[in-house]
Symmetry: C2
Subunit: 324 residues, 2 copies
């Protein structure tokens, strides 16, 4: 069976592809283990050197013919990560609607035309939540997004569930916490700072933090989120039941705790590279995001959070081969 990962040129999508390739199989249709015979990555850009095990398709999901090329008749697994990020969708409403909403629908429609409904894992986000929120959110909290990105993700969840109920796909949605620490460059996501204040100082660079140090971040590490995508795929349909989206477990950490942890691990000279420069545009978005969850359902389904922030930073340092 073949696997398609949209956004497969991005950090998470690419890491997921590597994890699946290394595993070599996925539990899928009828709860049976299937050998992975091909992994297709669909994205607008790719890393300079791509693993030869992957088929890369460069293009816009909505461009004519792209999805037909990406979805072979034997595609049994689709991971849909491609999206315009929160800051981008807020800055350009029409672009966000096109990519995040029309793109998701077009992909689901293309899946519907496959001979057998694929397992379809949709990357949603805690940006689904906003407005008047309880101090601790739980599985019963109703999404009330206060960003365009959040709205588009919620609509994607409902589309995934309904295409699933119709039998066009076997749909599953994950509401991702903020992923920390992302390698690479800052991006347009309003949450970009949460990785930046760890990554840049460790790379010897200054990092501007646009939010006050009391700001909390509900987070999950790259390792754990890749595990979550695979687990979401492999869970039985019955385990999901009639509720096809779940809040992933995470840990709530304040910027102050993040900076202090970095200082303990890498020293004062490193942590002094973080500078607080308020950015009201970013704060307006981040302020609407929740910081603490009870994720009983996810834990019951077997999803796992990180043990703590220190481990997240140490994993990043290991993965990147940074000397501290």
């Amino acid at each position: 069976m073949k696997v398609l990962i949209t956004g497969g040129g991005g950090f998470l999508g690419y890491r997921l592809a590597q994890a699946i390739a290394t595993r070599g199989h996925l539990i899928g249709h009828a709860g049976v283990e299937h050998a992975v015979t091909g992994i297709t990555l669909l994205d607008t850009t790719f890393p300079p050197e791509v693993d030869a095990r992957f088929t890369c398709i460069t293009g816009d999901l909505l461009a004519p013919g792209t999805l037909e090329r990406a979805l072979g008749g034997d595609t049994a697994s689709v991971f849909h990560l491609a999206a315009v990020v929160s800051g981008g969708a807020e800055a350009d409403f029409d672009l966000g609607m096109r990519v995040n909403l029309d793109g998701t629908r077009a992909l689901l429609e293309a899946c519907r035309r496959l001979a057998r409904p694929p397992r379809f894992v949709f990357a949603s986000s805690v940006a689904a939540f906003g407005g008047a929120l309880p101090a601790v959110l739980d599985d019963s909290t109703t999404p009330n997004p206060q960003t365009s990105y959040g709205m588009q993700k919620v609509v994607g969840e409902y589309l995934t569930a309904e295409y699933g109920r119709r039998g066009f796909v076997d749909g599953r949605g994950l509401r991702l916490p903020t992923i920390v620490v992302r390698p690479g460059k800052p991006n347009l996501a309003a949450s970009s700072f949460a990785s930046g204040i760890i990554r840049e100082p460790l790379n010897g660079e200054r990092s501007l933090c646009p939010v006050p140090d009391s700001t909390g971040v509900w987070m999950l590490s790259p390792r754990k989120v890749v595990e979550a995508f695979v687990h979401a795929h492999e869970l039985d349909s019955q385990a999901w039941g009639v509720n096809r989206v779940v809040n992933l477990p995470g840990i709530g950490v304040t910027v102050r705790e993040m900076v202090d942890t970095l200082g303990r691990i890498a020293g004062k000279s490193v942590v002094d590279r973080v500078e607080f420069v308020a950015d009201e545009r970013i704060q307006r978005i981040v302020r609407t995001w929740p910081v603490n969850f009870r994720t009983d359902r996810a834990l019951r389904l077997g999803f796992q959070a990180d043990a703590g922030f220190e481990g997240i930073v140490r994993d990043f340092i290991d993965d990147q081969g940074i000397k501290v």
Copy 2:
């Protein structure tokens, strides 16, 4: 200011138009009373004789030019009722997606192009709810629709809220209970029986009830729902706040109670015209709908339920000039 009512040729839309025309004004932008200078009805079909006060546009909301014709530059109020009903959207997925989802989005986009954001009242439905439900739903219950119609309505709510947050419209959404008693003919709505078992016997005809008499229906009368549409429009933006959809108040009545009430009012010979003939397709849809709500927020906002089912039947008899 002008008013547009989509689905204005339908029973509820037309009745709403009559109510607004009779009032002659609506509280709208800036909380000020505006004289209604025109009411446009957009629909695919209209009653044979239409009130001369209305401008009727016959056509598909998505047909080129239709929305431009329907939305004059001075349109300040839009009531969006047009939809493929529940049974229809379940029978034809693509039609439901086109009308209920694409149609709503196209209308919101057309509103966005107006010089001033209109008040936009969206008719959603308790079909938003489904899956594993509590015995009594409340304002915190998360929509988990188990029909295509329900999903499309939920997505419409989120679109309305987000276009509102963006300032493209001043959006408000109402989750309508089943409206009882509708006059006219049975329709494709899975809830059609709830009116049929009262209306047909009173008109001297047999009525087939496709669900068992233990089935509960969460209902609101035509009079009360028209009041609710006007009230939803006239409420201050601040009263809605960051939550732009509300479960309307209603009453929960079983089919048995409905039939018994009809018998008390119209006699045994009338009620004997109801015949129970199970229809599994209808039951499968209706079974997913909730029957009892606490609607604290709606009541606080000033929306009202009917006093009881007997009054609903007596109003219908009066409105239709039926002799009992």
